[in-house]
Amino acid sequence: MSTTSVDLHAHGHEAEHAHDPHHQHHFTTMEQQFDTSKIGMWLFLVTEVLLFGGLFVGFGMMQARYPREFVEAHTHLVRWQGALNTVVLLISSYTMVLAVNAAKKGIKSKQVLFLALTIVCACIFLVVKYFEYSHKFEEGWLPAKYYSYKGDSLPACMEKSAGPEAAAAAPTTPPAPCTNGYATFFSFYFMMTGLHGIHILVGIIILTWVLIRANRGEFSSSYYTPVDLVGLYWHLVDMIWIYLFPLYYLIQ
């Protein structure tokens, strides 16, 4: 592994791109810098998939344990609201692609327009979510120990009446009917849609940041990395919803 020396400044790309203010010193070329950023973003998205993946697996295990309860609990979700949000997010993905495309071509007005439309879609999604959540809060379809809906035809809890341990624990737990499974469904529902909602919120913030920079005319065909990476993030957030929607609203 001995080395010889190569003069950096003789390297063609170096001289060519030396003027770009976004060029960081430890990259030889802008292309290398762009590719590296993209690898970084993809890896980050992998961690996001695994973050949600844990919850998906947990949901699957609990659904296997309470198949009937999960199907029954899901009827409390309003299907058209979920479908509306799916459509809204699909549209936002499309506008995001158009924004990235405009950034690649360096067309400022289109970048601003499509980024703004994406943000609008994200806001619509959150508004719909707000109505969904508040309805559930009113009816008492809440996680685990807060679950207080009275309308279910719940069976008596077998596990709690059996054994001396359960009898000792009885005063601290609500008496029959048993909410096991129903409550678990809503624990996961709020966990997963909540975590997804946080991601939408973060998306709005970074989209706004990119929008401001686009409005300053910072992006051109030689440098549009932030728009591209935010686009990747946004598509992932949409995709997670594409999986969440059938999982919660369309169980059979």
């Binding site: 592994m1 001995s2 080395t3 010889t4 020396s5 190569v6 003069d7 950096l8 960081q24 010193h25 430890h26 990259f27 290398q32 590719d35 590296t36 690898i39 970084g40 890896l43 980050f44 992998v46 961690t47 996001e48 695994l50 973050l51 949600f52 993946g53 844990g54 919850l55 947990g58 295990m61 609990m62 344990r65 309470y66 996680p143 685990a144 120990k145 807060y146 596990e159 709690k160 624990a169 737990t173 909410t179 096991n180 499974g181 409550a183 678990t184 624990s187 996961f188 709020f190 966990m191």
Partner: protein, 550 residues
Amino acid sequence: MDQAIKTTPRIGDRPRPRKNYLNETRGFKSWAFTLDHKRIGIMYLIGVLFSFLLGGIFALLVRLTLLSPTHKIFGQVLLTAEQYNRVFTLHGAIMVFLFIIPAIPASLGNFVLPLMLGAKDVAFPRLNLFSFYLWLTGALMALTAMVFGAVDTGWTFYTPYSTTTDGPVTLMTAAVFVLGFSSIFTGLNFIATVHKLRAPGMGWFDLPLFIWGIYSTAVIQVLATPVLGITLVLLMLERSFGIGIFDPRIGGDPVLFQHFFWFYSHPAVYIMILPGMAIISELIPTFSQKTIFGYRAIAYSSVSLALVSFIVWGHHMFVAGQSQLATVVFSALTFLVAIPSGVKVFNWLGTMYQGNIKLDTPMLYAMSFLVLFAIGGLTGIFLGTLATDVHLTDTYFVVAHFHYVMMGSTVTAFIGGLHYWWPKMTGRMYSEKWGRVGCLLWNVGFNMTFLTQFFLGSKGMPRRYYNYLDQFQPLHAFSTVGSWIIGLGLFITAAYLLASLRKPADAPDNPWNGTTLEWQTSSPPITHNFEEQPVLEREPYDYRPVVAAR
């Protein structure tokens, strides 16, 4: 070719540059806001060594408490049972999350990886600094939790105990969550760096094996740690809001927590051991002055260890009420781990065979590693085998096994690597004589402490217990005396390393005649690592003089 000989510097054949990464800029801000991977590596090093000291003090306290079954030292009870639970939890949590996971990748790896690649920095220098501050935040949160009464759950935070016990469990798990993200970002950074910032001419199979090890580690960091993150979030929500996912009273399942936890934490032990193996793969060829035996086999074994690590988590739950089928399958998969581990050990031995072995301090640690790792690895087979595991599970046998792998192997490699790169990082040589004394004490103390615990465990001494039967006292006492010898050895090591900083810079650029690129620059390196972009021309671990190659 004559030119090439010149760029493999020997002692004193190149004037030392006046400016290096340590003295180019000065002052607190120049460190706090630095983007230089070398400075961030040094800051991590100081942080993890401080954590090691803290975790070590707790370990000594645990051992001292167990010196006698009455727990009395000079007539006073040293720790009550509750305090004992907190102290061993702190020992475990600090050693795992604050010390050993970041120890090699974030400190030595951060310093060496870009140098070995011939790069100016890691791919994302700002993310690198951010991940250091995340680590610092997590560490401060963990310390705060300690001040406010500490947790007594063990480092594994098993439900339902962790959701019902008092103490700042939520703060502690939040700290671990933050530390997890620090680890993710380090891994992400390294993967991108290895993919995109290799020197011209450096293909994947020209990478030093240290890089292969760190790369495999990074893959696990990125893939496994998010699952720990979400598990800890669920635990925090369970404690704060009672979402009931792990609570059987409202339909949850506490074993689900164990599955989630070990889906991360089993790969996490490979986050700990793979960088250790990575260091050994550098030390052995360098101090044997012989081309590594089975380069590709070692490289692939690192990657396959990373992959296998994801499918063996169930072996932590053999007695936790997992289905028999799952138990048998996990046991069979666990044995797969032996294959890549064995491949590595035999290739290292093959490298040493007929090599020109120099017994400098780093090599002494590397050879200690081989012995200690063999013991740690072989006793793992006892625990992976179902029939023996039922007897040995949750005994001191398990404690001894994982200390042989985590401490005997990873920490030994870490100390070896620290000595190996110490001249590069600081520009100073340490006292070789005291280095050997430190290594000897480390080996004697370690084996006294933990070999004893295999006997304790197989005789039935359960782990984590405060009380024990009088018949176990001789072994416990022997183990405790061993822990003092470890302490003494580490104290001496710290003393001579720190003493070396007081003298003027005397280290040559390449004190060990290493072939990897970090030895081609000055000691300590300049801020931009290399005067000129290095280009790779020879295979790694080619120790022949350039003239002879002609």
